[in-house]
Symmetry: C2
Subunit: 633 residues, 2 copies
């Protein structure tokens, strides 16, 4: 390679893009990364209208193509998830301290709405344990369910409305980005913690306790259980344990033979039916085994008149609504996505938010409380071979028939069998393997997970969640505050320059220090980058001193830096001034588009000198060697 | 270049570093980026002890070498800053609603402490307007200075103690990183907003008002001024305007001829002296011009017994202490650093925090309130030619003499001349040029600046500051949530691959899509990266379709990625699965140390296949072409 400047590659100093152009590009990347409207481009107007309708109301896309062949699959899947929906509906409603019938209502209207607006083919709609408990814990702070059930219930519906509104607006504003900040590690820890506290709470039902605490943390719950030792009922406990063993056994069967998933899917229904029969024939209520009690026939009544915006209480439903909106979105979208990936389809997160939001808004008008796409039910739906959202419609029709004709039969359900169903479901949510995997592979992720787990189980659900999200944010901010810098060296017999720590054989050029800076250069890391570069120079000096040659050039490889702010630009100039005082020239290599534009807009490029900016490390080193040779002569 | 695999460069699959090693490296980068103890390495024990002392008590390093030659410079600088300290001390104490004498006390003890522990040679210690007002605004929320001065004063000392404790602990815990999150843009906006509200507040003194508001926002202050129109005193206003014009004129002189900096440095002292003489001879108090009133002789009394930890009030001093601690650290360290850079010296931010913290802790024991290194005084000190922290000692001695002998003379100082001094100082803090520069070069930085400015001037100082810091954090988080990805192309006649947007001449290879991913791959951007890559493939497909060749290889250039978490690793595998279903092979190029280690620890490297990881794009493309050719045959 020659040292003549003509063979060097040219850095492109095109005029920086206008503010409008970059703003548009940035907004698109931030809010429309998946470019959802790409299919509408270059289409005639009529066609475009059709595509818009298909985009916003997915049912209009798949229903016309729907065939009886597909329906056979969806019918089977729909009946399977309905058999899961009935026991779970009743159980989780008890967890939210609301009448069990609300749980059944909640599996009727929302699935219909989702079938119209939802884009996932596998998501099965239903209530979830964590959100049920969270709603109860938040609203109990203001109103006790035992003291004033009508008011409590109206606040639950209001919380559902708020959750729906939050979800819909997040979707419309394309703020799916917010849900992305709930990481897998947080969700794993949160689910585990929630499972623990919900299991412990079920000891109330298992032991037939009448008095209990409204707190959710482990310490309060254990204290409540042991302080009420006199209320313990052995009959109840025995029945509960038998049910639990049965449910866990079916889960064990499913894990051994995944094809037998339906065994564990219908097990809760079997538990309920056996429980009802047992309670009916043994007059269980006289043997200290509590039952659900009266369930009236009929489909969902309207609940619009129940929505309560009284300023005295409004803070509780708002808080419950916002937190559960985020959690249920995170769960619903994550699950929809993971099954879509298996089938290699794509889910638009923001569109899903709108669908989930609408189903909660309409749900709150029709005596339903918060629903989303729970993991267990969606997995069953998927395994049962569902092909479209029609399986939700089938489930919905099954629920309607149940509500119209069968509801009173479930009034004999013993509470203890509900507790067994919940406990069994929760035991499956504690993901030991995932936690162990995190521990083995990424200690920081493990800490985030454990913060959620212990925060939820020892303090409260919302605080645990926030601590964990906070820790994850700190990790992201730490990344920005401490970008990696490394020294590059030449890998022998090649023209490659790589991290000398990663490729120990790589060696430097005498008199030249090459550093690769990490992205971004922002206000938060400017001091760090300056100090770190000065330290590299110091370290290199103490190395060189023994060898007897001084650093004359500092090459900063900027190829990895995608963003820089004003403080960052000032810092580059400061570094230049600092090293210049030590007799070292600063050279920039391969600045990326955003960085070069910022350097040009601030006119810093003139301070640095365009002749000190190169496109490749080789060119820069060539130039340095050339000039070193000249000064030697 | 041949296609034989032997000529390809090898990726280094060395065993990942142990958790201990990486943890130690990360902790060092996070908390000790400047490696402050490097000088102690390889030293004998006795020498090390000496160096430790010199490190923690810098005076022990420079005092033994101190000479009369240096002292001449420091004496001059010390007297100059003392002449600024007296008027500023009295003025800012009025701003904090505390007796003026406290302002003088605060320029006696803290400079002595700083001279012992501080490492900056140019920093001049003193009180600052913004923190004075912030302390007053926060403590007035609990106790009114007019109603209960002793209690108010005790809370001010307590706030100072808390500020000192916060600062010292931040320094000891090496949490200088927190102060880095106050960006230049935030500080510019905050200073501007504070200057506006302080100027408006001085209209009270200028117009000789007796009734005023304790709120600091522009609207409340303007309302207070115009509602009390009957109290306006024209005599006071005339005197004030004359002083203000004089002070602004000296500032103008300094800006024109920087060598005449001393004119503007002693102008406040001249204003005070002229004001005193004028008030004394014209019996100003009888002409409706208010004076400072009695100032007693004697140096700082102890204030340990005044520290007040009464739980009723404790929240106010804690809040004031924490916020002012951060602001005064940001100001003190930034200023120390900028002058150190001019002289090409280095300042250890964490050590400075300890020094500033100690000076506030001891200050709070000796009737001083919050001090730091204000910009104006430090600039004067620097310009007056100070050589070491001895100039602070000289200032301190001047203040002692003033307190012992001259204090009563200042009791005739008219309040209006204090207002003129404060207004003049504040007008200099509004940095129009900087704001304009931000507007021109970085709109986001400009928004951060304006948020601080309008937040402070229209809402309150603490809320304005927090909003601005929040916005800056959102920018940092947005960076993490939306890392730039770009398509690389081959620059004709070279072996270089660069961003096709930046180098429009660069063209792709048929059948191969090369993407450079931005750093980091974290939970917050996993969905984005997946969707974005699928969109690149879609876009490329619609381009290729017209040309008639399909993508067969997806090359991900990871050279810019320095960090990846577990969710990120899972996402890479998901992407692989997604593109594989489309018949595309995923190839990784140049994974950096941290990324490769994570891939190896999670065993994902085996899923990806080591044969699909290359060290350079060229190697990867060679391999792709080779395999394309084979499949063609």
């Amino acid at each position: 390679m020659t040292s003549s400047t003509e063979s060097w590659h040219r850095v492109n100093y095109a005029t920086p893009r206008s503010f409008g152009t970059t703003l548009k590009a940035n907004l698109k990347e931030t809010f429309f990364p998946d470019d959802p409207f790409h299919q509408f481009k270059n289409e005639p107007v009529s066609c475009r209208f059709l595509k818009w309708t298909q985009y916003f109301v997915p049912i209009s896309e798949w229903l016309p193509k729907y065939s009886f062949e597909l329906f056979k699959y969806d019918l089977l899947a729909g009946i399977t998830i309905a058999s899961l929906a009935i026991p779970q509906g009743i159980s989780y409603a008890k967890l939210a301290n609301i009448p069990p019938i609300i749980g059944l209502y909640s599996s009727f209207v929302p699935p219909l709405i989702y079938a119209v607006f939802g884009s996932s083919k596998h998501l099965a709609v239903g209530t979830v344990a964590a959100c049920s408990l969270l709603i109860a814990a938040t609203i109990e702070e203001k109103v006790s369910a035992n003291d004033n059930m009508p008011l409590y219930l109206s606040l639950v519906f209001t919380a559902t409305l708020f959750a729906g509104l939050v979800q819909t607006s997040l979707g419309l504003l394309r703020l799916g980005i917010l849900v992305d900040f709930l990481s897998h590690s947080t969700i794993t820890g949160f689910m585990g913690g929630t499972a623990i506290i919900i299991c412990l709470q079920q000891l109330k039902g298992m032991l037939g306790l009448k008095h209990f605490t409204t707190h959710t943390d482990v310490v309060s719950v254990l204290r409540a259980i042991f302080q009420n030792r006199k209320e313990w009922k052995w009959e109840s406990a025995v029945v509960g344990i038998i049910f639990l063993i049965f449910l866990q056994f079916t889960r064990f069967v499913k894990n051994k033979k995944p094809k037998l998933f339906w065994v564990s899917a219908i097990a809760p229904m079997v538990t309920i039916i056996v429980g009802c029969l047992f309670a009916y024939f043994s007059h269980a209520d006289k043997h200290d085994i509590q039952i659900v009690g009266h369930l009236s026939k009929g489909i969902n009544p309207s609940s619009i008149h129940l929505l309560n915006f009284d300023p005295t209480y409004i803070s509780a439903p708002i808080k419950a609504g916002v937190i559960t909106a985020m959690i249920s979105l995170a769960e619903g979208i994550a699950i929809g996505r993971s099954f879509a990936i298996i089938r290699n389809e794509q889910i638009d997160g923001n569109k899903e938010m709108i669908a989930i939001g609408l189903m909660n808004i309409f749900g709150s008008f029709a005596s339903c409380y918060l629903t989303t796409g729970p993991f267990s039910r969606t997995a069953v739906n998927f395994n049962a071979g569902c092909k479209t959202a029609m399986s939700n419609v089938v489930m919905s029709i099954c629920m309607m028939l149940t509500l119209l004709f069968l509801a009173p039969l479930f009034s004999y359900t013993p509470l203890v069998s509900l507790s067994a169903i919940i406990m069994s479901a929760m035991l499956g949510l504690i993901d030991y393997d995932k936690a162990y995997h995190l521990f083995k592979t990424d200690k920081f992720d493990f800490c985030i997970c454990m913060t959620a787990f212990f925060g939820v189980s020892l303090i409260s659900m919302d605080i645990g969640l926030m601590l964990s999200v906070g820790l994850a944010l700190i990790r992201a901010l730490l990344y920005v505050a401490r970008p990696t810098t490394c020294k590059l060296g030449n890998i022998p017999e090649t023209a490659l320059y790589r991290d000398v720590e990663q490729y120990p054989g790589a060696h430097g050029n005498p008199g030249i220090l090459i550093l690769k800076l990490g992205s971004p250069i922002y206000f938060a890391n400017c001091n760090y980058i300056r100090e770190r570069i000065l330290r590299w120079i110091r370290d290199e000096h103490s190395l060189s001193n023994s060898k007897g040659n001084e650093i004359e050039y500092l090459l900063l490889e900027l190829g990895g830096i995608t963003s820089i702010d004003i403080t960052g630009v000032e810092t580059l100039l400061e570094i230049r001034r600092c090293v210049e005082a030590k007799g070292i020239m600063m050279i920039l290599v391969n600045p990326r588009l955003g960085v070069l534009e910022k350097l040009m807009v601030t006119k810093s490029i003139d301070t640095v000198g365009k002749e000190y900016v190169f496109l490749t490390i080789e060119d820069a080193i060539d130039a340095c060697k050339f000039s070193l040779k000249c000064s030697d002569q």
